[in-house]
C-alpha cells in the first residue's frame, strides 16, 4: 500500500498527458502516477497511443489492445489503436446500420481515413476525450476519475496535442470541425487537463524539456503541472570521500580498485546530475520533482510502485 499524502493538483485533474523525449521513462512515470492515483482511491486508466503496449508490459500483462483491462484495484489500461477508434467514432456517428456496414466494407473509406492528415491522431484524442467523460458515449462505459496518457515522444508530442486545432482549421465546417474544436477546448482546459514532462538529469534532455514546456504552454496552451526529473543518482559520497576513494583506486588492483573507482564514478555522476537539476529548476516554470535512479535489472511493476511511493 502507498499510504502517503496525496499529490495536490496533478492527480486532481481528470486528464494528464505524460510527455518527454524518447527513452526518459515516460511509461514508467505514467504507470507510477496511475498506481499512486489508484492507491488514493481514484478510478484511473492509463492509455497508450499508436497501439503501443508498454504499460501492459510493465504489468507483465498480455497485450490489452483496444479494451479497458483492469490491472489492479482501481487501475485499468488501454492501448488506443487509431483504426479501432475511427470505427468506434463512426459507429457513434451513424445510426443507420446498413450505412455503417457499407462504409466499413468500402476500401475507399479506409483509404480516405488513412490519407487524411492528422485523422489518426484526432480520433485517438477523441477516444481519450470519450474515456474522460463522466457520461460515457460507449455503452456501459466505466466512469473514471482520472485518465493518464503515455504521450508520444517530444518531437511528435506537441504535434499530437495540437492536432485538434490543426484539424479544426482544415475542416472548416461539418460535424468534425465542431468536434475538433471541442477536443481542443478539453486539452486547453487548464482546470481539468494537465501535462507532466519527464526529463533526465543530462544537458540535452534538460534543454529539450525546457523547450517542450515552452511549446506546450505557448503553442498548445495546455497546463504544465510537473516536471519529473527521472533517474537521479543518490549522493552517497561527499567530495572529500570521493577524493580519498579516487586516490585509493590509483594504488590498488582487483575488486578494491573496481569498488573504489565505482564509488568515484557515482560521485561524479551524482554531482553532474545535481548541476543539471539546478539548471532545470532555473529553466522551467513548473515545479520540478525528482525521481530516484532505480538499481533494478528491469523496470517492472514493482519498480513503478517504488517510484509511485516517491512521487511528490
Amino acid at each position: 500500500m502507498l499510504g502517503i499524502t496525496p499529490i495536490p493538483d496533478i492527480l486532481d485533474k481528470r486528464l494528464v498527458f505524460v510527455t518527454g523525449k524518447g527513452g526518459v521513462g515516460k511509461t514508467t512515470v505514467a504507470v507510477a502516477l496511475g498506481l499512486r492515483a489508484a492507491a488514493e482511491g481514484k478510478r484511473t486508466i492509463v492509455c497508450e497511443v499508436a497501439s503501443q503496449e508498454n504499460a501492459s508490459r510493465v504489468f507483465a500483462h498480455r497485450e490489452v489492445g483496444f479494451h479497458e483491462v483492469e490491472m489492479e484495484e482501481n487501475l485499468w489500461a488501454i492501448s488506443i489503436d487509431p483504426d479501432e477508434s475511427m470505427r468506434e467514432y463512426v459507429l457513434l456517428q451513424l445510426k443507420v446500420r446498413a450505412m455503417r456496414d457499407m462504409l466499413f466494407r468500402s476500401r475507399i473509406f479506409s483509404y480516405l481515413a488513412a490519407a487524411t492528415p492528422g485523422l489518426k491522431e484526432l480520433v485517438t484524442i477523441g477516444k481519450i476525450w470519450e474515456l474522460a467523460q463522466l457520461d460515457r458515449k460507449v455503452k456501459k462505459g466505466r466512469k473514471y476519475d482520472l485518465v493518464i496518457v503515455d504521450a508520444p515522444a517530444t518531437g511528435h508530442g506537441v504535434g499530437f496535442l495540437q492536432t485538434p486545432r490543426t484539424f479544426a482549421n482544415i475542416a472548416r465546417v461539418g460535424p468534425i470541425h465542431g468536434q475538433a474544436q471541442a477536443l481542443d477546448r478539453l486539452i486547453t482546459d487548464q482546470a481539468h487537463t494537465g501535462t507532466a514532462i519527464v526529463a533526465l538529469p543530462e544537458e540535452m534532455p534538460v534543454n529539450e524539456s525546457a523547450a517542450l514546456e515552452h511549446d506546450l504552454r505557448t503553442e498548445v496552451g495546455v497546463a504544465v503541472d510537473r516536471v519529473y526529473l527521472n533517474g537521479l543518482y543518490p549522493e552517497r559520497f561527499s567530495k572529500e570521500e570521493a577524493e580519498r576513494l579516487a586516490e585509493l583506486a590509483g594504488g590498488e588492483n582487483g575488486a578494491l580498485r573496481a569498488a573504489a573507482r565505482a564509488a568515484a564514478s557515482e560521485h561524479d555522476r551524482a554531482r553532474s546530475q545535481r548541476a543539471q537539476l539546478a539548471r532545470l529548476r532555473r529553466r522551467v516554470e513548473a515545479p520540478v520533482k525528482t525521481l530516484p535512479f532505480l538499481f533494478e535489472p528491469a523496470l517492472d511493476v514493482e519498480a513503478a510502485r517504488k517510484l509511485a511511493g516517491r512521487l511528490h
Binding site: 526518459v24 518531437g155 490543426t166 540535452m204 578494491l256
Partner: protein, 385 residues
C-alpha cells in the same frame, strides 16, 4: 570487434538507426567527427526536431544546407582535424518543396501543389514524410558528390518499420490511384465502381466536411503530373539504401527494451536486404565493475575499512559497488544476447561516461571507444589506459 573506421572502410553512406533515447544523435555526430578527424570530408545530417545536433556541434542554428564546423573548435579539445566536418539539420518541409519544384512540369502545377492545404499538412506533419525527406536529401547530397562520407541520424521512430517503409508509404499516398478517379468532378468512375464507393465518399464527406474532400481531390489532381517522377526517384533512393557502399549501424542502449528493439531492427534490415554494418551499444556500465573480489563482499568491506579507516564509508562503497555490479552484469547479459541474436562480432560498446556528453570534448571522448581497437577498448574500460 572492429572499430567504426574499419566498418566504414569503402563506404560512402552511414545510416544510424535505432529507437528513441539511445544516443543516436550523439553517436552520429561522434562518428562523423571521428571520420573527419581521420581525413575524410564528412557531412552529418540530422532530422531530429529537437535540434540536438546543433547543440553537440556548438552550432547555434543548422539550416537546410550543410555548414562547415569550425576546425578550431576541435583543436580546442585536442583533436586534430585532418579532414572536414560539415553538419546539416534537415528541414523536411523545405526539402519536400524543393522536390516538388524539381518534379513539377511547370510553375503553375508547382504552385497548385505548394498552396494546397493538404500538401502543407503532409509535407510537415504526415507520418513518414520526415523519414522520406531525409533519404531524399541523402540521395541529393550523394548525387552531388561533394562529400566522402554522409552520416544520417534517423528520426526517433517508435517502430523500426516506420523508417524503412516511409518512402513506400508516402509514394503510395501521393499516387492516390484508387482515390483520384472517384474525385473527378464528373463522377463517372463512381458509377462504374458502384454505389458502395459513392456512398462511402458521401458519408466521409459528411463526417469530415466537404472542404476537406475538395482539398484532397485538388491535391491528387495537382500531383497527378508528378507521380511518375516521384516513383522513379523513390526507386533510385531505395537502390541507394541497398547499395554495398551504404552501411546501416544500429544504435541502442544496454537495457532490455532497447536491446530487443535493436534485434528487431536488425532482422528487418536483413529481411529488406539492406547492408548491416554493426551495432553500437551506448552507456554500458564498465566491465571492470563486474570484477568479483577474491573473497565475498564481507571481505571486500573489511579490506576497504582497513584501507580507509572508516567503516561507514567502507559499507557505502561496498553497497554502491554491488549496485553497479548488478547493472554491469545486466548489461553484459543483454549484450551477449544481442551478439548471439545478430550473429555478429560487430558489437561496439561505449561505456557510461562519468560526464554527460553534450559538446565536442564529449564527442572526442566517445570517439576513443568508437575508433579504438578491441584491445584498447578493454584497456580503457578497465580503467588501465
Amino acid at each position: 570487434m572492429p572499430a567504426v573506421d574499419e566498418i566504414l572502410a569503402g563506404k560512402d553512406i552511414c545510416i544510424c538507426a535505432g529507437s528513441g533515447g539511445v544516443g543516436k544523435t550523439t553517436t552520429s555526430a561522434a562518428i562523423a567527427a571521428g571520420m573527419a578527424a581521420r581525413g575524410k570530408r564528412v557531412c552529418v545530417l540530422t532530422i531530429d526536431p529537437a535540434k540536438r545536433l546543433a547543440d553537440s556541434l556548438g552550432l547555434r542554428e543548422l539550416g537546410n544546407e550543410a555548414r562547415k564546423v569550425d576546425p578550431a573548435l576541435f583543436e580546442r579539445h585536442g583533436v586534430e582535424m585532418k579532414g572536414e566536418l560539415w553538419a546539416m539539420m534537415l528541414d523536411a518541409k523545405a526539402t519536400f518543396d524543393e522536390l516538388v519544384a524539381r518534379q513539377a512540369p511547370d510553375e503553375e502545377s508547382r504552385d497548385r501543389v505548394l498552396n494546397n492545404r493538404i500538401y502543407q499538412q503532409i509535407s510537415s506533419a504526415l507520418a513518414g514524410s520526415q523519414e522520406y525527406m531525409a533519404m531524399e536529401k541523402l540521395f541529393e547530397l550523394h548525387t552531388e558528390g561533394r562529400f566522402d562520407l554522409l552520416v544520417l541520424d534517423t528520426p526517433p521512430t517508435r517502430n523500426a518499420l516506420d523508417f524503412l517503409d516511409a518512402p513506400k508509404r508516402l509514394t503510395q499516398f501521393i499516387e492516390g490511384r484508387s482515390l483520384r478517379v472517384f474525385m473527378k468532378p464528373t463522377g463517372l468512375a463512381a458509377k462504374v465502381a458502384g454505389r458502395g464507393a459513392s456512398v462511402a465518399l458521401s458519408v466521409f464527406k459528411r463526417i469530415v466536411g466537404f472542404d476537406l474532400i475538395a482539398d484532397l481531390a485538388e491535391f491528387f489532381n495537382a500531383f497527378s503530373g508528378m507521380v511518375d517522377g516521384f516513383q522513379a526517384r523513390a526507386k533510385r533512393v531505395n537502390s541507394l539504401l541497398a547499395d554495398p557502399h551504404t552501411c546501416f549501424l544500429v544504435v541502442c542502449g544496454p537495457q532490455g527494451e532497447p536491446i530487443d528493439e535493436a534485434v528487431y531492427f536488425h532482422r528487418k534490415l536483413v529481411e529488406a536486404k539492406l547492408p548491416f554494418g554493426g551495432v553500437i551499444v551506448n552507456k554500458v556500465h564498465y566491465p571492470a565493475e563486474r570484477l568479483r573480489g577474491d573473497g565475498d563482499s564481507a571481505d571486500l568491506e573489511a579490506a576497504l575499512a582497513s584501507r580507509l579507516g572508516d567503516e561507514d564509508l567502507a559499507r557505502r562503497v561496498r553497497e554502491n559497488f554491488a549496485d553497479y555490479q548488478a547493472l554491469a552484469e545486466r548489461d553484459a547479459r543483454n549484450i551477449e544476447h544481442l551478439a548471439a541474436e545478430l550473429r555478429t562480432r560487430g558489437v561496439i560498446r561505449v561505456p557510461y561516461l562519468d560526464e554527460d556528453v553534450h559538446d565536442l570534448g564529449g564527442l572526442a571522448e566517445i570517439d576513443r571507444y568508437l575508433f579504438a581497437s578491441s584491445e584498447e577498448r578493454i584497456e580503457i574500460a578497465a580503467g588501465r589506459a
